[in-house]
């Protein structure tokens, strides 16, 4: 019996057994199509559809949204999502595709939308039938989130939206978007408002989605252009001008720091054909064992060994920090570890990929489609892609500001 099980209430223990029983009979098995490493990289509609089916099945079985009230499509059992997540991960199920919906949109809607909007949107969000995306980034508002220029203008009971969002993951699949935009040009922070916007149904009618090409040549991000899109006032979350406050709810949950636990499954080996996990130090060690360097394998090169062990220590630190942050007595400031999470994990992945591609030596020059590319060319590609996340969602420079200001209490740097 694990420690978490030992702490289960009788009701929780019963729920855990239900989950275990269902999962033992309903694991979807290996996917029939290649699934990328994370939901944000999904581009194949067949893969998306297969994952949506899995999310729907898990939702119907009561393992998604269990902490939300029944009226909004949830399970009405507070403190149960964590248990469902544990059991899904233990069963190594596939990940859930509606990641932005569950992790960012759902808690924001739950805390800030009108009751009828909650009831309208949350059930299909939680079931994965509706995929969600997030419209925060703009060409002129990168890490400076408050610098939104997309404008919503009141027109009777409606709002008319014009503007340009960028770096929108999943927009090419999304039915809905959470949208931060400007409603008052005279006040940077208090001039923002927050909406939920049906984008798929408006494609070609006020909404245009076009892919952004990454430096690797891959797609995955999109630009979303709004031209006189009309939405009803009920799709506004919270008051006009309260957009910044609402966005903080979104961001807190994105960083795992909000009150609602995000539904999460995962753990199924989804690396595709290569068997390489570009976030695993173990894969790096395998790589090092198979490459020569100065007359021995790279795994026998003491300088590389030192680098590999440093990475392993960082990986273990991330896990143990997360473990510690759940024990109130062992943390001085409740946000100290949660606010580190994006920073340290993205830099870890970047450094891991960098060490790995250097281990490959001359062969690191080879592109993914070269038959001689080691590990299927995954490592140099992962290195380049790693910049997407050290930049996105508040560049890591901004993350360090946040930690210095909110946790250490240093004065603001702007």
């Amino acid at each position: 019996m694990s420690e978490s099980e030992r702490k289960d209430s009788p009701e929780q223990a019963q729920f855990r057994s239900q989950c275990q029983a269902w999962l033992s009979n309903n694991h979807p098995g290996k996917p029939p199509v290649t699934i990328p490493q994370g939901a944000l990289e999904l581009s194949d509609p067949d893969a998306m559809q297969w994952l949506q089916q899995w999310q729907k099945a898990a939702y119907d079985a009561g393992m998604i949204g269990c902490d939300y009230p029944v009226e909004v499509g949830g399970g009405g059992k507070e403190g149960h999502q964590g248990i469902a997540n544990q059991e899904m991960q233990r069963a190594k199920t596939p990940y859930l595709p509606n990641i932005i919906g569950m992790g960012m949109a759902a808690p924001t809607i739950f805390f800030h939308a009108q009751d009828d909007v909650k009831a309208e949107l949350l059930p299909k969000l939680l079931s994965g039938e509706h995929i969600w995306c997030q419209g925060f980034s703009e060409p002129g508002a990168g890490s400076d989130l408050a610098n939104q220029q997309t404008f919503a203008e009141k027109d009777g009971d409606n709002w008319v939206i014009n503007g340009h969002k960028v770096w929108t993951s999943l927009a090419h699949f999304a039915d809905w978007m959470i949208l931060l935009c400007r409603t008052d040009k005279s006040d940077k922070y208090n001039g923002l408002s927050y909406f939920v916007v049906p984008i798929k149904s408006a494609l070609g009618k006020g909404v245009k989605v076009q892919p952004l090409i990454k430096m690797t040549g891959q797609t995955g991000f999109n630009e979303v252009l709004f031209e006189n899109l009309v939405i009803p006032d009920r799709y506004r979350l919270d008051a006009v001008g309260a957009g910044w406050k609402v966005a903080m709810t979104t961001l807190a949950h994105e960083r795992g720091a909000g009150p609602l636990v995000t539904p999460a499954s995962g753990g199924m080996a989804t690396e595709g054909e290569t068997g390489v996990s570009v976030s695993s130090v173990g894969s790096l060690i395998d790589l090092a064992r198979s490459h020569q360097r100065l007359g021995k394998t790279a795994a026998d090169d003491p300088v590389l060994r030192d680098e590999i062990i440093k990475l392993m220590i960082r990986r273990e630190s991330i896990q143990q920090n997360n473990r510690r942050s759940a024990v109130a007595e062992l943390t001085d400031h409740p946000m100290r570890i949660p606010l580190q999470s994006k920073l340290v994990s993205t830099e870890f992945n970047q450094d891991l990929a960098e060490v790995a591609y250097r281990v490959e030596g001359a062969a690191s020059t080879l592109n993914r489609n070269d038959p001689n590319a080691p590990a299927g060319g995954q490592w140099p590609l992962a290195y380049m892609n790693s910049f997407g996340v050290t930049i996105a969602a508040g560049a890591n420079e901004v993350q360090r500001n946040i930690l210095g200001e909110r946790v250490l209490g240093l004065p603001k740097s702007k």
Binding site: S2, E3, S4, I285, A288, K296, T297, A299, D300, D301, P302, R305, D306, I308, I309, K310, M312, I313, R314, E316, S317, Q319, Q320, N321, R323, R324, A326, V327, E329, L330, R336, I337, Q340, L343, V344, E397, R400, N401, L403, G404, E405, V407, L408, G409, L410, P411, K412, S413
Partner: protein, 380 residues
């Protein structure tokens, strides 16, 4: 990890012990008090002092801190290893001069000895007898098999042990000594005939260190010849974690003190902490402290719950804590500016303690070289 408790073994008792230790040490060993006690003479070539508050030590003994990891059967409290680690962190946070880390280290070694003599020594420790380890040779090698002391056929010791921590504060020593049958462990009284203690002059003002020379010194066998190295190795996760925890506590003091200074010191019409050139490195210090702290708790928890993993985890903790120790102290001096470079500023007390701790049992790169052997396998 599946076998470790989620809270690293920090139950109510351990948290209460830690909180009371934090209060006791902040009440009795403020940085101000400490500076007055250990830094009254600033002369670089001053003679070797061994300054500590023996009255305070008696209170600590009365609070039971030396007994925490002594088994109940030996008259101790029998708490898990994390209790000792929690105390070490608080000791580090105040750079408290005492034989506590030495004595807790000795406890881990004695717990790994299977002899009546070891049990008797543990009982003495629970009762407050300060005890230090004398396991290191003159070259400062950390290998448990490296000793310059021999045990003779008559059971007496000859030779030299170096880098004995807080030696002048301790009443007895646990000595590793070699015979033809291998390394054994021996208990020697500080007052034994033939034992000479030569104080080292050390940079760290908050501790003492000495070399011991043995000439036909009477000793009590704690672990028989051939079993001593194994006992040291079994205790090593505890020893590494204690030092790592000390560095974590000191690191947090350095961070918080520097943060406070950065909030108030104005340069270019701004508090220092406004500048990202100060703020971001301080955040990096914080990240390192958190890593070192979590890894240390993880290692300490493994001592009781996953002993087969404990050495690997403790070397990780010692590696991260050592790198953090260097970085946290360097940034503390740098960001205190000129004042941080002075004797009157308290920063150097912690800076020097960090310098000292990070080399004990091997620095970060040393740990990582051994971790590579454990994790990747010995290099070809």
């Amino acid at each position: 990890m599946a076998e470790q408790p989620k809270n690293f073994g920090f139950g109510e008792d351990e948290v209460m012990l830690r909180d009371s230790a934090r209060k006791f040490l902040s009440d009795h060993c403020s940085s101000d008090t400490l500076h007055r006690m250990v830094a009254s003479d600033f002369n670089l070539d001053r003679p070797n002092d061994c300054v500590w508050d023996q009255g305070l030590w008696q209170q600590i003994v009365d609070l039971g801190w030396t007994a925490v990891c002594v088994p109940e059967g030996a008259g101790g409290i029998g708490m898990p290893a994390v209790a000792a680690i929690a105390l070490a962190e608080e000791v580090g946070r105040t750079a408290f001069p005492s034989p506590l880390i030495a004595t807790l280290s000795a406890t881990f070694v004695l717990n790994a000895c299977d002899s009546a003599a070891a049990t008797a020594a543990l009982t003495e420790i629970a009762g407050g007898k300060a005890t230090a380890l004398a396991l290191t040779n003159a070259e400062g090698e950390w290998d448990s098999a490296a000793t310059d002391v021999r045990v003779n056929a008559d059971g007496r010791l000859d030779g030299l042990a170096a880098f004995v921590q807080d030696a002048r504060k301790c009443a007895q020593f646990i000595v590793s000594a070699r015979s033809d049958a291998g390394v054994g462990l021996y208990l020697v009284s500080a007052a034994a005939d033939g034992l000479t203690l030569t104080p080292d002059s050390v940079i760290d003002l908050t501790r003492d260190q000495a070399r011991l020379t043995f000439k036909q010194v009477d000793a009590i066998e704690l672990a028989a010849p051939g079993t001593g190295s194994a006992a040291i190795d079994a205790a090593l996760p505890g020893l590494l974690s204690l030092v790592a925890a000390d560095m974590v506590g000191a690191g947090e003091w350095l961070l918080q003190t520097t943060v406070e200074y950065a909030k108030t010191r104005v340069q270019f019409d701004r508090p220092l902490g406004f500048f990202q050139a100060v703020k971001h490195p301080l955040v990096n210090v914080m990240l390192q402290i958190d890593n070192a702290k979590s890894l240390t708790y993880h290692a300490a928890c493994a001592i009781d719950h996953e002993p087969a993993e404990a050495l690997r985890l403790a070397r990780m903790a010692k590696s991260e804590a050592s790198d953090m120790a260097v970085f946290s102290s360097s940034r503390a001096v740098q960001f205190h500016g000129g004042i941080g470079f002075t004797w009157e500023c308290y920063v150097h007390l912690f800076f020097k303690r960090q310098m000292h701790n990070q080399v004990l049992y091997g620095d970060a790169k040393y740990q990582r070289a051994l971790l590579a052997d454990l994790i990747i396998g010995k290099a070809a």
